[in-house]
Amino acid sequence: MKIVVIGDGKVGFTLTRALSQEGHDLVVIDNQKNALTIAEDRLDVLVMEGNGASASVQKEAGVDTSDLLIAVTSADETNLVCCMVARKLGCKHTIARIRNPEYNEAQYLLRDELGLSMTVNPERIAAREIFGLLQLPSFLRRDAYAKGRAEIVGIPVRTGGKLDGIALVELYKTLKVRVLVCAVKRGSKVIIPDGSFVLKGEDHIYVTAPTGDLLTLVKVMGLDRVKIRSVMIVGGSRIAYYLAQMLSEAGIQVKLLESNMARCETLSAMLPDAMVVNADGTFFPTLLAEGLEETDAMVTLTNLDEMNLVISMYANHLHVPKVVTKINRTEYGEILDDSGAECVISPRQLVCNDILRYVRAMQNRSGAGVVALHRMVDDQVEAMEFRANSESWYCGVPLHDISLKPNVLVAVISHHGNVIVPRGADSFAEGDSVVIVTTTERRFDDLNDIFAEPPQGTKGV
């Protein structure tokens, strides 16, 4: 597919890299030459200098013949104009980044009026993700599928804990609860395990379960149990605003530290329930004075990755029960594990997943397209949700009779809102949601792609 990306910032670059690796032809437009040089040297894409909102630049980039335009410049207004122009030029799908909270309220209205296919708000997505983690702090990450009825959660295996040294086949005997371990991260490697796999301390396991059973899971797995009642946030970014709002609505106490006085005033005007403190959150004595030791959770949201990491390390040092770190540079992946920052959020990565899902759904042939997509473990593993339809193969066939491609796992089947973690005898039917887990070396955009061969009597696609 031909895709034009306008705006080569952090999100733009991550997006361009991911889409280019998926095999699409990318043209990147930006008015900053320096940013483009990096993209040109590092990625196999075409770059163009210019204002992406201008019709002539868009024409030169071939927007009129492109399948998709993604506007992710720093200004919401520019993004909107880009998409409007592209639509007039004949580009069928447009995605804009809109992150101003004021526009956000009216985003559904805007979407219809401007003919946008999709709007993304990285900060809001990130805030929701953090909020989810704070609700169930035992998990390192939570990804929702089947309209929120099923989740894949990340769980740390503690050395000497209940899970250490247990083979996956014995897991049911130990826990008395049916769970499916769909991926294991050991060091920087990732494994899609089989039954004989033995868990070790320091592993991170990714487990599928119905959302309703998550609390039981915490109990039986012997995970640390805390209920978050107060949260301290460092850095008054947009994410902080969205997060504070969500937390306040859920009745959780929020203390927000921001060093810029003007920003503090704006925030406190918008967030009547949160306590906004004008203080430098990077200064440890201040953190202590504001009660870091008593707080249940710490979220670091400053603009500097390094600063976030250092504050998180300090919070871990003080044994704050839950620490969430915002990191923009996903390249830091390997050293993050060493630093002890287990729970990491990357806004641009989250946005990237959403857009990848949209693009794959566009490419889908049979209509059984990708409904949800999440990438885990430094983008090495991918979980995708498909909706089975009349075109799908093997409907009603027990899973142990189907041969799947290697490294593919059926993780969840949701049948009329009834979520099951499938075993060999289970099958999916038309209309069911099917979540599969696989490594990112391959790319699926249709449910039928996961099978090793078409069923007998069907022609291969």
């Binding site: 031909k2 280019s20 032809d25 040297d41 990625l43 196999d44 075409l46």
Partner: protein
Amino acid sequence: MNYRMIIRLLSVSLRIVAAFMLPALLLSLSNGENASAWAFAITIALMFLLSTITCICKPRKTSLYMREGFVVVAVAWIVLSVPGALPFFFSRCIPSFVDCLFETISGFTTTGASILNDVEALPMGMLYWRSFTHWLGGMGVLVFLLAVSTISGNANDALFIMRAESPGPQVSKLVPRTMQTARLLYTIYIGMTILQTVLMLFGGMSLFDAVTTAFGTAGTGGFGIRNDSLASYSPYIQWVVTIFMALFGVNFGIYYLFLMRSFKRAFRDEELRFYFSVILASILIITLNILPQFDGHPEDAIRHAAFQVVSIITTTGFSTANFDLWPQLCRTLLLLLMIIGACASSTGGGMKCSRVLILLKSLRVENDKLLHPHMVKPVRMDGKPVGEDTLHGVYAFLMAYCVISLASVLLISLDELSFETNLSAVLACLNNIGPGLHLVGPMGNYSMFSDGSKLLLSLDMLIGRLEIFPIFMLLMPHIWKRARDYRA
């Protein structure tokens, strides 16, 4: 420096060249030229053997960076010239190995300078191979490699190779993917070569002549298969060759614009306009100047003027007339055209029209700035400001170009030939043209130079084809060291 990856790339390019040598082998066999057939067979076998041996070396990391890109291109051009020269040597067609090497480098770099006194004495298989080296060198072996296979895990690493091998001040891709760009370039290239061959066949040329001449034209090379180059062919064929030489000297990006049907943008291209203006003006001047020599045959004068001008500016080097006997104005003008060269991203050599245009424009801007010191005025190409880094690149290129020309002239003056011969020989080699003036004129050749001068001129050809810097890189000691040593 990722040596293993460089070796692997070289190994694959060896196999490509070996595969391309097969038609020459078959041709020799079908013509009963046993000596040539053996020479080709042995060379091909050697190349496959070497390629298989080096293939064992598996790169641990497949990533390439800018410096690997430069090094692999420069090394590949030097290394591939040796097996390319072996058939001439094994078949005893050219007895001296230095001569074989000169001839092959001249072929690959699309120069067309020859040391052969009697071209027609070569067997057909050798003539075919000699012309084919032009075709392969025109667009580049490594660009071909990029078109047919993925070389590394990171698809973008290919861009570094493409940048190093393709000519022009700013190498840009036509389409988002490097592989697709390389394919597109080769598709246009092959398509135009076939078209020219067909048109020449209509003019009554034999298939062998048409194919070899098309190879020479497409690569803007200039190896003819007759001693008088193209003089003895019909005017129709000479016109066809003239037009195609001019077309192969055009930036291939323009053809992509044609394919995309954006004719307006194509015709508005400043480099294209400059290129054709220079050609037309030169043809006019030379026609008027040589008219007295062609008393009563003005159409001959126009044809010969056009052919020589186009042949020289595109750095092809075919000839239909001995322009060394023309008036001094014509000879000097042709010498200047050698330096200008063809368009960027074409198969031609020389300084490239876009660089000359940028230099002329920046001269004007600098001049204006003397009068108005605070004036802010960028150098523009196609209405867009040219970046500082591009400008500096062009200045550095000009400087390096002058230094190399003068140093080469100085060194080959040891051979005690006339200054005119030396200067034009260096310019003709550095700009990948072939024929120069006086002793190396269209009816002469390079056989009277000493072996040392021949090697130096061969180096000049490589420097010219790869646009100086990749070869320069090889001479930098730190490029061969590990990053750790460089820091210390």
